[in-house]
Amino acid sequence: MANGKKIGDVLLSVQNINLSFGGVQALVDVSFDVRKHEIFAIIGPNGAGKSSMLNVINGFYHPQGGTITYRGVTRARMRPHEAARQGIARTFQNIALFKGMSTLDNIMTGRNTLMSSNFVLQALHWGPAWKEEKAHREMAEEIIDFLQIEAIRKTPTGRLPYGLQKRVELGRALAAEPDLLLLDEPMAGMNLEEKEDMCRFILDVNDEFGTTIALIEHDMGVVMDISDRVAVLDYGRKIAEGTPGEVRVNQDVIDAYLGVSHD
């Protein structure tokens, strides 16, 4: 659904990635490009290496071979917090919120990389530190408004229902004002209504903030509806890439999902 938005140049280019854990080949020679402002979906059967791919992109796994070029810079081995500082944010398949902290604090923590006051000023709660805190609070409140979670801003996230936790986690990722947002199964375990909400948020984020989104999802209806392009992984290999329409009729993809008879 390319609704006239401008898809720009390549933001992230993944070339010939190889990743193995001991004898298990998780990713074999995977290459794809993610362009600015697009919604790029990675799909595939269970164990295809989708989450591993995201983990490689944000520096959590270190591939044995291949290169990752982000914003024109081919990067060396890096740590996740360095990826975060370059503008890559993500959510997790199993929610990874800070459960003892309120929704507001979770979202404020997402803005940590954008804050700079030192601890002495903070202990004194003086001038710059206080101003910074207020300015970031305003931005955090904008995200809270955007995701419509005003009512739970002071609730510890551990007490929230699953669907809301997913939403807060999206908020925390958005709070960092990322250029590239990685979503690992944002709709897993949701009912239809929650899925529709989440789809709307994803599309709005893409539309209003111009954020590039790479997502993993199992719900084919969702993927086909919201993605600009889709890459299909199976057993760690990329078997197809293209627009949803192209992927849908690709014989390899159909075989991977439905199985194929070996006679």
Binding site: N58, G100, A129
Partner: protein
């Protein structure tokens, strides 16, 4: 009925982010501080100062320090006694080397040295978590005390190995030393505790507090949103040890007067840990409640039986003390892991509705 937050609307983010956003809380805290500064010095006698109030304040300081590290940043530490010893011994060395330097500044400097030592012993925390980290901090405890015993330079080569607080004055008033009055020492301790409590409260509600709690709640997610675990954990060790160091200097100069390394032994570390477990992990108020509880219980056990008209042997008394601590810690870990502070909070929530709980 009297505790109402309804109707107190916040129209600015500044108002919503104040230390005590609710009017009644603010009034209560201000009243307590004023009472402690203005009324207590006139109504308390020397026994109260020396046996109850000063140790309570000293241990509150140490408990806040450990709570920042364990309760907020989630790094378990059994080195509190060691870090306090660093504060105490370094304050002693500095004030004997530079007798003219203001003793209050020396307390701060001693805290800073303890912070450096804390950073050194915090380095393993990048790789080691939970109980295993507690064991490495135990090494800090034993190593530091061994060092202070072994190297005579630390106790100025006195054959007894005892360090004693020399008399020092600030603005013409004798603050420490054998001749100083308990009331003055109490006021000094109180001032330190008030100032550093406010600082701790500011830290934990800002960026740094949030990064500590993020590391505590889910370190992997914290790293993925851009928090550097190593830096954040070391900062927690540094600030925590600073508090413990200042508490150690206060312990020696304001409470004990003279001490040897035994005063800072492993039992001190455990006591402070019990304080924050019973008081409430991740709560500044909890540090105070825990410190009050642990310092007051032995005094209660000493004083209560004579009032009730029977005498209790000293050894039985100390056994009961240990039994009570043990039972309470098990109770709190099972029933209310967030400690007395959480009970206090529940009480406040109930009070919001009282007497019409529907």
């Amino acid at each position: 009925m009297f505790y109402r937050e309804a109707g107190q609307f916040k129209t600015t983010y500044a108002g919503d982010q104040a230390v005590f956003p609710i009017l009644q809380d603010r009034a209560f805290v201000i009243a307590v501080i004023l009472f402690a500064f203005l009324v207590v010095p006139f109504i308390a006698d020397d026994y109260w100062f020396q046996a109850i109030l000063i140790p309570f304040l000293v241990f509150s300081m140490a408990a806040i320090g450990l709570n920042l590290l364990t309760g907020y940043a989630g790094q378990l530490s059994l080195g509190t006694g060691g870090f306090m010893a660093v504060g105490g011994y370094m304050a002693y060395k500095m004030t004997t080397a530079f007798p003219d330097l203001n003793i209050l500044i020396i307390f701060i400097l001693a805290g800073l040295i303890a912070a450096v030592v804390g950073i050194l012993f915090g380095i393993p925390s990048l790789r080691i978590k939970g109980f295993y980290l507690a064991v490495t901090t135990l090494a800090a405890q034993f190593f530091i005390l061994w060092l202070f015993n072994k190297v005579p330079w630390f106790y100025n080569y006195f054959s007894s190995g005892v360090i004693a607080a020399p008399p020092r004055s600030v603005a013409g008033i004798l603050v420490v030393g054998p001749a100083s009055t308990p009331m003055v020492r109490y006021l000094v301790a109180l001032s330190f505790v008030v100032v550093f409590t406010l600082a701790a409260k500011n830290l934990v509600r800002g960026r740094i507090g949030r990064s500590w709690m993020a590391i505590r709640d889910m370190d992997i997610a914290a790293e993925i949103i851009g928090i550097r675990p190593f830096q954040v954990k070391l900062l927690a060790f540094a600030i925590s040890s600073f508090y413990c160091g200042v508490a150690g200097a206060m312990f020696l100069f304001l409470y004990l007067g003279s001490a040897e390394t035994e005063a800072f032994n492993i039992n001190v570390s455990f006591d402070v840990l019990f304080m924050i477990i019973i008081g409430g992990l991740g709560s500044i108020l909890g540090s105070f409640l825990g410190a009050a509880f642990i310092t007051l219980l032995p005094i209660l056990l000493t004083n209560l039986p004579p009032h009730l008209g029977f005498s209790m042997p000293i050894d039985l008394q100390s056994h009961i003390e240990v039994i009570t601590f043990g039972a309470l810690i098990i109770f709190f870990l099972i029933v209310e892991p967030h400690g007395l502070a959480r009970l206090w909070q529940i009480g406040k929530e109930k009070l919001r509705l009282w007497p019409f709980p529907y």
